[in-house]
């Protein structure tokens, strides 16, 4: 007869090496933190002084503005380009392909300078009938393309070319049967893309898309070539004047860390949202996990104390 184990006490598996590892890691973290805090050459006082200075905040807002505008416009345009590329129309396919080809094969720096100096290449921009003198309207290029416009144009078009490929990749990862089922139900093409395919493609798109957005946050610093005062350009101007190079670079770096951290939190929750239906039960959020950890450990502690 089988032994009855029901009266035995269950002892949870122990992981002593995890504790050793934790101690080593904690020591390392402490050492780094200590050196950061005590080495006077980091000049934390200067960092603190400039961190929330008006000019730095203005630069930060410009960075956020450029990232948001060109990020959103870039991904919207990228989505349209991806759909064009996957469409049945040879015209749309080649237009989309050519767009990506041009903007991925020219340096962003060059694109930016070309947009800004469009006035040098074409003095006036006009709408009319080609090869005749008929003009409906005409405008000086330099009044049309400001620093801001050149920056947004350059970043958006470049971003669109890259995000088109990311979105196309995501769409290709969705099972062909989904499209067939939607087509068989008579669901119109645009709705098929936005309601059926895109939400499923999102799971594949999001990690890379957030890579792009985070890259863009720092990538906006390239607009220094237009003397556009976003965050990085601003701190450069300041340290050229004050010679406090390292602490001012730290100011910019810390702000980039803050933005990226906030974006990472967004990424976590957006990814979780789109995993709806793809997993049977949604995983716990970190907050829920923490609450559960403390709840179960509290129970374990009270149980131990009672014994």
């Amino acid at each position: 007869m089988a032994t009855d184990y029901s009266s035995y006490r269950v002892v949870a598996a122990r992981h002593p090496w995890r504790w050793v590892g934790t101690a080593v890691v904690a020591l390392g973290v402490f050492a780094v933190a200590w050196s950061l805090a005590t080495n006077p050459r980091w000049e934390w006082g200067v960092v603190a002084q400039w961190f929330t200075a008006q000019s730095v905040i203005n630069g930060l807002l410009e960075t956020l503005k450029l990232t948001a505008i060109s990020g959103i416009l870039g991904f919207v345009l990228g989505f349209i380009l991806a759909l064009m590329r996957l469409s049945a129309s040879p015209l749309l396919v080649s237009v989309s392909w050519t767009f990506s080809w041009i903007f991925r094969s020219t340096p962003l720096l060059v694109q930016m300078l070309l947009w800004y100096n469009l006035g040098y290449l074409y003095e006036k921009i006009s709408l009319g009938i080609p090869f005749t003198d008929v003009r409906f309207f005409e405008v000086q290029t330099t009044t049309l393309i400001s620093q801001f416009a050149a920056a947004v144009l350059g970043l958006t078009l470049n971003q669109a070319a890259y995000s088109a490929e990311i979105i196309r990749g995501g769409i290709l990862s969705v099972d062909q049967g989904q499209l067939e089922a939607a087509a068989a139900l008579g669901i119109p093409a645009w709705r098929r893309s936005t309601r059926i395919v895109l939400p499923q493609a999102m799971r594949a798109i999001l990690p890379t898309a957030f890579n792009e957005i985070i890259g863009l946050v720092k990538g906006t610093s390239i607009v220094y070539v237009l003397a556009y005062s976003e965050l990085f350009y601003t701190v450069q101007v300041i340290y050229n004047r004050t010679q406090q190079v390292l602490p001012l670079l730290l100011v910019a770096t810390l702000w980039y860390v803050v933005i990226t951290s906030v974006l990472s939190v967004f990424q976590y929750y957006i990814e979780r949202h789109y995993s709806k239906g793809a997993v049977r039960n949604l995983p716990l959020t970190p907050l829920q996990k923490a609450r559960k950890f403390f709840a179960t450990h509290a129970v374990a502690n009270t149980a131990r104390n009672a014994r």
Binding site: D175, G177, E180, A181, A184, L185, P188
Partner: protein
Amino acid sequence: MSTATTSAPATATDPVTTPSTRGLVEITKVRKSFGATEVLKGVSLTVEPGGVAVIVGPSGSGKSTLLRTINHLEKVDGGFISIDGNLVGYEVRGNRLHELRGKEILKQRTEIGMVFQNFNLFPHLTALENVSEAPVVAQGCSKDEARRRGLELLDRVGLKGRADAYPRQLSGGQQQRVAIARALALDPKILLFDEPTSALDPELVNEVLDVIRELAKSGTTLLIVTHEMGFARDVADTVVFMDQGQIVEQGSPEHIFTNPQEPRTRSFFSKVLEPAFNI
């Protein structure tokens, strides 16, 4: 628009009163090739309104492809398909056939429901959202109306109370029944079943077949590709035996199952019938 959508649920929920005057399928000398392989070699088949045609045959015989040409998921290379006298995928103008474009094809498809072997439910939408999506966007039904009908249809396929479940939270049989409800939501003239039970565990097959049996009495024209011979015999008006891209023989279930004339039909059934009839 509103009259069309309000009159629809009455016929969808009340199978007895549905007149079998719509859903005539006429397939004439249809040919289709994939690359160098010709998978349909001039297939002709007529299914009367309200009829139930079950298509059987070895795999690779072109059964599924034939089904998919009916709602233009596959474009035919030759021949014609018409539904109630209207050509699928083309419009007759004078003595020319004009190829239809996206929108018109979609409109034709709303008259034809299709149920797939792998269900193809939309995994990010709940059962109810799966069922009520097409009536809203393809037929202009109001959201409330689509929801009400969706719940009714889920009830009809025995899934009352599972409306808010996501497909992955349902068993295979339940998923396929949601897929059937989804196909019914457009109140189609014709329903196409492409091996609806082939991806199911044996014990789940019957719950799906029972739903289809009910539909067979409803006056909707059904075309079913299946390997379930007992079910075919039970539900079909006409059994069609296909092999190598051609219809070899067709007739009543009694005729095809007990007294097939063609040697190819006989050899096929001698291989598949024994196990099916043990059930």
